[in-house]
């Protein structure tokens, strides 16, 4: 049966067909939908873990117990899970274990553009890279077989254009993988130095055998066309190259990007006049070719940075590129904005008003850095706001304690922020941490997390009590505010900055886009009362704009949060239409 499927959905289908039984992941664009689709299969246990390290270790545990298992994450999530990865390479697995990692060339939704292939090389584990949904499904199944045959976790590398593109897949029946018995094997699984030294050569032997596999595997194939140009490519770059050259070039299409074949590449190089590698991000295949002593072009032609496309490849190889017409007008940019009614807005307005230093974190609230709020001054990685705040305050003491805060979302706090809060409690910096608790993992599209009280299927689940958790970390001052109440927010932020001990402020209100959140009726501007002071414009609400110098509300966008009403010094914005 043929179906159109998103790359991520195809991976989930592959999990089902491969008899995978346990999936544990942390959401991260562009990997999130793999786990969401997997959760629709009754035979697969799926969960959202608090972070990627936990997810990978859960997945390992399930593999050890004898069930095929999987975990998914975005590229930066693999940084968090790198610790288990490097040692699981030594222990190997019991039942097949596959790790899905999705890179984001072009940084559509990420803070950096790292190339996950480095992890496969570093951890010495095989990595497969599909180039469309059909391969995403097939390679997922092959990855499980390889995992079991070579006793290793296998990385499945996706990227934004594969994860978030739909193409046609062919569905097959589910194969029931057997449960493998768990045998205690201390030398294999207890990686104390003496045992790790015994496993170390096994990793190298395995790599040698995997290279042999790569030479003849159907994952890697030659497609001979015109021999004037030989292109080595994998993943989405292969598709762009085919789009441009079709049969006018020859291809070595790599489905396995670690370890790379040697004889196969030499053989291909022999057959073509000009050898080029087309790969997004880092020159990994190219470097490998150079180590083989081959004359090859790659990054001398193509950029290290960003996504490729058919036009880019045409241009760099001297072929005609297409172009369209442009208007003479300047087209204003349309950056993403906090939604109308977003509960984060009130807090950021107060932080902006008080001109505080704000150490931020990963989530929708990074939009607090945008105009007109400009109220976030760092955003590095998950959890970093709280630990950086501690360091900032240790470095400057009273000078910064009174005017510096950390802001972090509920999901991000439980991901890796809580460790940092323990550090504040333990080492005692007088820091003020604001947890923006919108009761969901927002930016990745509304996933449940340990503080929401629901699991991935939406069923009631264990619920972390954030207040109790913060107190248990050694924070005595824990306050809860409603971010729609500006007066309360300002008072509490001032009090906690003034306090002589660390504190946590939980700004609690669910994301306005959640289905169960009811919106108030849109608010209205009493034109004659508006004195054009523009203070409401400082909220950066997309529903508020100016018409002939006076405030106006877009009724279709307004969520009725009434934050602007409390801000207006002239009572020009009103909830009640009758009053207008």
């Amino acid at each position: 049966m043929k179906r159109l499927m998103l790359g991520n959905e195809a991976v989930a289908r592959g999990l089902y067909e491969a008899g995978c039984r346990v999936v544990s992941s942390y959401p991260g664009t562009p990997s999130t939908e793999i786990t969401e689709y997997a959760a629709k299969y009754a035979d697969i246990y799926c969960e959202w873990a608090p972070n990627e390290k936990v997810a990978m270790e859960v997945s390992f545990g399930a593999s050890l117990a004898g069930k095929r298992s999987f975990c998914a994450m975005k590229h930066v999530g693999l940084n968090v899970a790198a610790d288990p990865l490097f040692t699981l390479s030594y222990t190997g697995i019991n039942a097949g274990m596959v790790i899905g990692v999705a890179d984001d060339p072009g940084m559509h939704s990420s803070q950096n553009e790292q190339d996950s292939r480095h992890y496969a090389i570093g951890a010495k584990v095989p990595m497969l890279e599909p180039s469309d949904s059909k391969e995403a499904l097939e390679f997922t199944k092959i990855a499980f077989d390889l995992s079991e045959e070579y006793d290793t976790p296998v990385l499945l590398r996706m990227c934004t254009r594969i994860s978030h593109s739909q193409s046609i897949v062919t569905l097959s029946e589910k194969t029931n993988s057997e449960t493998k018995p768990f045998y205690k094997n201390i030398r294999k699984y207890v990686m104390v130095p003496g045992n790790a030294r015994l496993r170390r050569p096994i990793v190298e032997e395995r790599t040698a055998r995997l290279i042999e596999y790569a030479e003849t595997s159907p994952l890697n194939r030659m497609e001979m066309g015109n021999a004037f140009l030989g292109i080595i490519a994998a993943g989405t770059a292969y598709q762009y190259a085919k789009e441009v050259f079709g049969k006018e070039a020859s291809y070595l299409k790599l489905g396995m990007v670690n370890p790379l074949p040697e004889k196969l590449i030499r053989e291909f190089a022999e057959k073509v006049d000009r050898l080029i590698v087309i790969e997004e991000l880092d020159p990994i295949i190219e470097t490998h070719c150079r180590l083989l002593g081959l004359s090859v072009e790659g990054k001398t032609l193509f950029p290290m940075i960003g996504e490729f496309s058919q036009n880019l490849i045409s241009e760099k190889l001297g072929r005609e590129t297409k172009a369209g017409k442009t208007l003479e007008d300047e087209i204003p940019v349309r950056p993403p904005v906090m939604c109308a009614g977003c509960p984060h807005r009130g807090i950021f307005y107060i932080l902006s008003k008080l001109k505080l230093n704000v150490l931020g974190d990963i989530g929708c609230y990074a939009l607090g850095a945008a105009v007109p709020l400009n109220a976030m001054h760092t955003c590095i990685c998950m959890g970093s706001s709280i630990s950086s705040l501690h360091g900032f305050n240790i470095a400057l003491g009273r000078e910064s304690e009174k005017n510096t805060v950390a802001v972090i979302g509920d999901s991000t706090f439980l991901h890796t922020g809580v460790n940092s809060l323990i550090n504040i409690g333990y080492n005692g910096s007088n820091s003020t941490v604001i947890i923006l608790d919108n009761s969901i993992t927002g930016m990745t599209g509304h996933q449940q997390n340990p503080a929401t009280g629901y699991n991935i299927k939406g069923d009631p689940a264990g619920k972390v009590d954030l207040e109790a958790l913060c107190r248990a970390c050694g924070i005595n001052r824990v306050r809860v505010v409603d971010p729609y109440d500006l007066e309360e927010c300002e008072a509490v932020v001032r009090e906690e900055l003034d306090a002589d001990e660390p504190s946590v402020i939980i700004a609690r209100r669910p994301c306005v886009l959640l289905k169960h959140v009811t919106h108030g009726p849109p608010v209205f501007v009493k034109k004659e009362a508006c004195r054009s002071c523009k203070i409401c414009m400082r909220l950066g609400c997309p529903a508020i704009h100016l018409e002939n110098g006076k405030a106006a509300i877009d009724e279709t966008l307004c969520a009725g949060c009434e934050v602007c009403i409390s801000l207006c010094p002239f009572d020009a914005i009103q909830a009640d239409k009758e009053g207008v």
């Binding site: 043929k2 179906r3 159109l4 998103l6 664009t29 562009p30 999130t32 939908e33 559509h108 939704s109 469309d132 254009r161 978030h164 593109s165 739909q166 193409s167 046609i168 989405t236 598709q239 762009y240 085919k242 789009e243 496309s309 058919q310 036009n311 590129t321 297409k322 172009a323 369209g324 017409k325 442009t326 208007l327 003479e328 007008d329 300047e330 087209i331 204003p332 940019v333 349309r334 950056p335 993403p336 904005v337 906090m338 939604c339 929708c364 939009l367 945008a370 105009v371 007109p372 930016m443 990745t444 599209g445 414009m537 950066g540 997309p542 508020i544 704009h545 100016l546 279709t556």
Partner: protein, 192 residues
């Protein structure tokens, strides 16, 4: 058969994913090779979003590049102007006359260009401008403006109405189906 390229552009939250799903479902049913490339995540929050739909005998790249689009379906006027360089010479723009000010316009840092439809026409593009919001409202919900535009797009393809209706049925939950079918028809039959 040469590959046909359709871009669906708009503002995050306007329903471009449903529109591209509808097209994808329809085209696969016609036995064609199809690729649809979407945007999820951060840029959805009121930002400019673009979806690529490509179909033909064999499609390789999932994206559409500058000068390649046969059709640009735009849910908003400024977005049509933004993505215009992707249109082929004599390609067609199907646009909703809705205007949504981006934040730089709201804050007064930039101006929303005037007379966009005329300016787009002046480049030689074929323009089909539809008051999709009004028609969607008539069908029962402003949220169905995306389907109004799909109805409009359907007039440029030689595919039976039944095929479109089957695709609607597949992509839309039953309780919203009638509303969306109506929106589709209003778009398909709109006079310009």
């Amino acid at each position: 058969m040469k590959t046909t390229n359709i871009m669906i552009v708009g503002v995050g939250g306007q329903g471009s994913l449903l529109a591209s799903n509808l097209l994808g479902t329809l085209l696969v049913e016609q036995g064609l090779d199809v690729k649809v490339s979407e945007v999820h995540g951060m840029s959805q929050r009121g930002g400019s979003v673009v979806t690529y739909v490509r179909f033909g005998e064999k499609v390789y790249s999932p994206v559409i590049d500058k000068g390649e689009a046969d059709y640009i379906v735009s849910f908003e006027m400024l977005e049509a102007a933004r993505w215009l360089p992707y249109l082929k010479s004599r390609g067609r723009v199907i646009l909703s006359t809705q205007r949504i000010d981006p934040m730089p316009v709201i804050t007064g840092a930039a101006a929303y260009p005037d007379a966009l439809i005329e300016k787009i026409k002046a480049t030689g593009a074929l323009v089909d401008a539809v008051d999709a919001l009004k028609l969607a409202q008539r069908a029962g919900s402003v949220r169905a403006a995306n389907i109004v535009l799909m109805g409009r797009l359907s007039t440029y393809f030689n595919m039976p109405l039944e095929a479109w209706e089957n695709a609607l049925k597949e992509c839309i939950p039953p309780r919203y189906l009638d509303l969306n079918k109506e929106a589709f028809k209003l778009g398909r039959n709109a006079n310009n």
